[in-house]
Amino acid sequence: MGQLNLRQVQKFYGTYKVLKCIELEVKNGEFVVFVGPSGCGKSTLLRIIAGLDETTAGDIVIDGERVNDLPPVKRGIAMVFQSYALYPHMTVFENIAFPLRVEKMPEEKLKAKVEHAARILHLGERLQQKPGMLSGGQRQRVAIGRAIVREPKIFLFDEPLSNLDAALRADMRIELAKLHRQLKATMIYVTHDQVEAMTMADRIVVLNAGEIAQTGAPLELYHKPANVFVAGFIGHPRMNFLPVTCKGASDAGIEIDCLGQTAIIPVYPRAGMVGATLTLGIRPEHIEIGSGDLSLTITPSVIERLGAHTVAYASLGEDGENYCATLPGTVALRTDEPVKTGIRAADCHLFDQNGMAFERRVEMTDIDMALFDPAAA
């Protein structure tokens, strides 16, 4: 079992609030990713769960037991550090065996466990080498090996892939996802890389300035971001935001005025919004060449041709706000030549003055059958 509850966890450094009242439940066997910009408190939160830092207030509960005052090893957690933190003077075998040596496990049992871990991580031939002789990916696997020999209830990963190059990171992502399925353990993973978050997580916790901005499945965050921050943070390139005026609300959605055009955005309206300035959000990948419910003529200043798609950057409006469009395939665009682009109203996101989203009229089951929960039906 590895079920974790965070109850109103707070952390202050003097008067600076690193974490403001974090409330979270992690189910047994879940892969939860904490994601957020640097300084949002995600690593602090992980270190608090690990027992390396203490909370200012609030409880950490693992499997129903309050563990605030327990050392890491008694909490049943294992942690993989960003810098690997391998012991350079020990062989790979001894590195992986370290936690077992601490608990004075008999030699035979220890050997079997280390070899089992090495087999899972494909480190069999490296056991007698020192960490200095290994590549980055192998070192990371040794660090993971040291975590899995103890068979903890909860694995904690602190940006474990951020020191690897892009290709290796993609490989390790897949290996970690496999490992999670194999071990069926609860994993909590901290990253600032949204690709890692989107690809590996069962559930993503987006943190912003010490608060949980939103918790949800990857596609839920993508399709139904709760606020401007999550909308801007999830998705690459960033979502475009345009100021619009609310002209009316009906069952069909909210009617908006955007640069002289009107459109009805299919969201659940709230009362008293007429006349207010709202924010329209549109993801770059939802912009098409030609016309749509809303049409915008943009003049790209930079064009990135990536083969699979073409990214055009333009400035919009008087204050020259960045506007970005990701177009599928190779598109015949030239810099400084105007091009007409269209947006479908159904793809749009709408946020109120406080940056909170109006819920979109999309069913998650329409997006991905995997998200359909038969038990709830």
Binding site: L52, P72, M79, S83, Y84, P88, H89, F98, V102, G136
Partner: protein, 285 residues
């Protein structure tokens, strides 16, 4: 032939300048040694011949044999020096390793003040404190023992050793401690299994400086706190070659060279541990 890196290539006049500078300063350090060695080879009668000859005529190693005869206790003095320095080094290491670890890793009230105090103590030379120390030793009744020479030696060498080792240990990534802590290791287990092996080059440096420091400073403590011949260390023992009428210069020089030999041997063995790059692969830098 491989060329040295661009920044290490010099014009001929630059090379001449460099070597001239090296020669100038090195000669100040090495000339006494050369002179001392040459004196040890000369028969005593030739030493005061006029005109003075730098190179020994019919030089021999005779003084290296007669020195043992004219001062029979000399082997004992070497042993004493070696013994005192070894014990001092061992005690210093035993105390300094855990305390340097504590200063490097733990935040506790007064750690900054303590470190500053250690530095301040170092500004006093042992000589300033000789008389209070003498009175202390006398009231404790430990004058004329090894103890009287070892304890002040340890006390005066601890501060610099702590500073040296603390700096080294602060360079060891903190994640290693944290990883060990997460894996259930206690502070002492972490120190013994993780920090000690990685800090070995730093500990070797501390051991060497402490050993040399102790070898050098025992003179002043031995002179004050000890009057027993059998406990005399080497620097005091050398006075035995100062006779009533004359100084046996050639034997004195020979004895000096023989006396530093054990220290040289110890340093030779310790420097094996001075390998750098031992932390390679611990963390990504």
């Amino acid at each position: 032939m491989s060329q040295p890196a661009m920044i290490n290539r010099y014009r001929w006049y630059e090379l001449v300048g460099i070597y001239a500078g090296i020669f100038l300063f090195l000669s100040f350090i090495l000339a006494p040694f050369v002179e001392g060695f040459l004196v040890s080879l000369k028969p005593l009668g030739l030493l005061f011949s006029s005109p003075y000859r730098f190179w020994p005529e019919n030089g021999s190693f005779e003084a290296y044999r007669t020195m043992w005869v004219s001062v029979p206790g000399f082997a004992r003095y070497i042993f004493n020096s070696f013994f005192i320095s070894t014990i001092v080094t061992a005690v210093v290491l035993l105390l300094v390793v855990p305390s340097a670890y504590a200063f490097a890793r733990f935040k506790f009230r007064g750690s900054g003040a303590l470190l500053a105090a250690f530095l301040a103590v170092n500004m006093f030379s042992g000589a300033v404190l000789l008389i209070p120390l003498f009175r202390l030793m006398r009231s404790l009744g430990v004058l004329n023992t090894y103890f009287a020479m070892i304890v002040p030696g340890v006390a005066f060498l601890i501060p610099s050793a702590i500073w040296l080792l603390r700096t080294y240990m602060m360079r060891i990534p903190r994640e290693l401690d944290e990883a060990a802590f997460v894996d259930g290791a206690s502070h002492f287990y972490t120190l013994r299994r993780v920090i000690l092996p990685i800090a070995m080059p730093g500990i070797a440096v501390v051991a060497i400086t402490t050993f040399i420091g102790s070898y050098a400073q025992q003179f002043i403590f031995a002179l004050t706190f000890n009057s027993k011949t059998e406990y005399m260390p080497l620097p005091i023992g050398l006075y035995a070659y100062f006779g009533r009428q004359e100084v046996v210069w050639n034997e004195l020089m020979a004895a000096s060279f023989v006396g530093i030999a054990p220290a040289v041997i110890v340093i030779f063995f310790l420097q094996r541990y001075l390998v750098s790059g031992l932390t390679a692969g611990a963390v990504k830098q």
